[in-house]
């Protein structure tokens, strides 16, 4: 008892239960996913009993594998297509907004910022409903399906890009541009030659985040889907989990995860290369984690 008290009172001791909690949490968060990936390689049709190893549910099964079942295959295409397009649109929009809002001293800057951030606090079911109703009743020239889904994904992505890029902007200040202009650079060129390179890391991080949240989105994709061919991977996971659940579902999810990791990895490596060139040494992962928040 006294030992315990002494240990607690010692200001320089190391907390021991913390590593245990952390370890348990990590196991809890990651192990189920690893098990799910393992079952994607199951030989048999069970998703809970280990029955050998095979690629049956990836491509070997003639009817029910990800590759041979057109529903699953198109879901994967649809997810990738949406994520790619959402990156291409949301990142420029969000980055420009970040630059604009941070530098803009006008009265409208604050409301613009609040507007962008309010998408973050809107539950997906609310945004999904809103977009569904508006496409069906007002913007009837936009059809449900890929375009509608894309608009939804871009809308909720802008705020993330804004946060990430603005964080970077605030930390670099405006001295570099001013220096460039003092040296005679035209204004737009100052933005392009000075600001843009400085913002690259945050822009790359935005690409990763937008890709990931677009791949992950379920509610908005489901509300705005026009059925079958525009169902994304999460929509399939949800509907098939309740109906025909075979390990092909696990294979589909694992493939999505794999592709996200590859995409994130490529962007991450590019980012690290950029940082190296500038001699930044802090942990890149660490910086990413902080950007994400």
């Amino acid at each position: 008892m006294t030992r315990l008290r002494r240990w607690l009172a010692n200001p320089w001791g190391r907390p021991r239960f913390l590593p245990l909690v952390t370890l348990l949490y990590m196991a809890w968060a990651i192990v189920p996913v690893l098990i799910a990936i393992r079952f994607s390689f199951n030989e048999g049709r069970s998703r809970s009993t280990a029955q050998g190893w095979s690629f049956r549910w990836y491509w070997e099964d003639p009817e029910n594998s990800v590759w041979t079942d057109p529903d699953l295959r198109t879901a994967l295409y649809q997810s990738l297509k949406l994520a790619g397009l959402a990156m291409a649109i949301a990142v420029p929009l969000g980055a420009a907004l970040a630059v604009g809002i941070t530098r803009w001293r006008g009265r409208a800057a604050k409301p613009a910022n609040a507007l962008a951030l309010s998408t973050l606090i809107t539950p997906e079911i609310v945004m999904g409903t809103a977009l569904f109703l508006v496409f069906v009743h007002l913007f009837t020239f936009i059809e449900l399906g890929t375009v509608a889904q894309l608009i939804g994904h871009v809308t909720f992505s802008i705020a993330f890009v804004l946060l990430i890029v603005r964080g970077r902007l605030l930390s670099i200040g405006r001295v570099y541009e001013e220096a460039a202009m003092d040296l005679g650079a035209p204004r737009l060129q100052a933005v392009r030659m000075v600001l843009l390179p400085l913002l690259w890391p945050s822009i790359l991080a935005s690409f990763i985040i937008v890709f990931a949240i677009s791949m992950d989105d379920f509610v908005i994709s489901a509300f705005l889907s026009s059925g079958g061919s525009t169902d994304t991977v999460p929509v399939r996971l949800y509907s098939n989990a309740r109906a025909t659940a075979t390990p092909a579902l696990n294979a589909l999810a694992s493939l999505t995860l794999g592709l996200t990791i590859v995409a994130a990895g490529v962007i991450f490596l590019a980012w690290r290369a950029v940082r190296r060139r500038r001699g930044v040494t802090a942990s890149a992962v660490d910086e990413l984690a902080r950007l994400g928040a």
Binding site: T22, P32, G152, A241, A289
Partner: protein, 298 residues
């Protein structure tokens, strides 16, 4: 001014216009549908765009069932609030120590642990949920472990519609989104502040209680808001983990009314009511953070 006046508004304009068109206008359309009617043949909503045509009946129905005892929505709102509250508290209990450890004590494991923290962002929520469901099945590994260790005598049916499974599912799904902001904040706390506290004789616990915890109040509040708001709109977690009337959350009820039939305006009105509730919550958050900032400044 180095730049012309129009330049920064011009940078902001595309995204602002986008958000006006695809965020603000859609919000109005929810209201227009809630205040509108349905056509008698295909039962599709006829939004009332003009406030002069507004017909508040859907709201009347929702309020009647919300504020009178035993109404359809009262139970569901109460249950949703309870689930979210418990899930948020549990999430905090898990998230804080983990974030704290990684931020301050992880040492050379830090990078690896950070990868573990970020990983859930790259794994689809539904995939994580399905993985978890698989383990919870009657012949799943959770039961096997519990029976093998003797905690349970026989396998338990975790998916038979119990509230605990839904709440744990919510925690499982959302806790990573709370850890990250907490980590980002705790990592920024200047260690010298704590060292000073300890130099002054504070025990580790007291240093935490009197210095770290108050300092991190804004981060905790931010984490709470980040996970609580989406939980209020969740309908797929209870659907997948329970599908029992006893765990119906407000999102399920919204989804039920919205998915066709002639009562879509009721669904739209429910969305408006939910949003109003969340805005109150948010206002409290802003107030609380402002207060915390003031306290720290003193």
């Amino acid at each position: 001014m180095l730049y012309p006046r129009w330049m920064w508004p011009a940078f902001s304009a595309p995204a602002v216009l986008w958000l006006l068109a695809f965020f603000v206008v859609p919000f109005y359309s929810i209201l227009a549908v809630a205040m509108g009617s349905v056509d008698p043949i295909l039962q599709q909503p006829q939004p009332a765009w003009n406030p002069a045509d507004w017909d508040p009946n859907a709201f009347t129905f929702v309020f009647d069932n919300l504020f009178y005892g035993g109404g359809i929505f009262q139970k569901v709102f109460a249950r949703t609030i309870a689930y979210v509250a418990i899930a948020v508290v549990l999430s905090l209990v898990i998230a804080y120590p983990v974030a704290y450890y990684i931020a301050r004590h992880a040492g050379r494991w830090k990078t690896l642990l950070l990868v573990g923290l970020v990983a859930p962002f790259f794994i689809s929520y539904l995939m994580r949920m399905l993985a978890w469901i698989n383990l919870l099945q009657e012949d799943g590994w959770v039961n096997e472990v519990l029976v093998w260790t003797g905690i349970l005598d026989e396998p338990r049916n975790w998916l038979d519609g119990r509230a605990s499974s839904v709440v744990l599912g919510l925690v499982y799904g959302y806790v990573p989104f709370m850890i990250l902001p907490l980590y980002a904040f705790l990592d920024r706390v200047d260690p010298r502040v704590l060292e000073a506290a300890r130099d002054l004789g504070a025990s580790r616990f007291n240093a935490f209680r009197l210095v770290t915890l108050p300092l991190s109040t804004p981060a905790i509040l931010a984490g709470v808001v980040i996970i609580a708001l989406p939980m209020f709109g969740d309908y797929y977690t209870p659907d997948l983990l329970s599908a029992s009337p006893n765990t119906t959350m407000i999102g399920n009820q919204i989804n039920f009314y919205l998915r066709g039939g002639q009562l879509v305006p009721v669904g739209a009105a429910l969305v408006c009511v939910l949003m109003a509730m969340l805005l109150i919550l948010l206002a409290y958050y802003l107030f609380a953070t402002a207060r915390a900032a003031r306290r720290l400044a003193e």
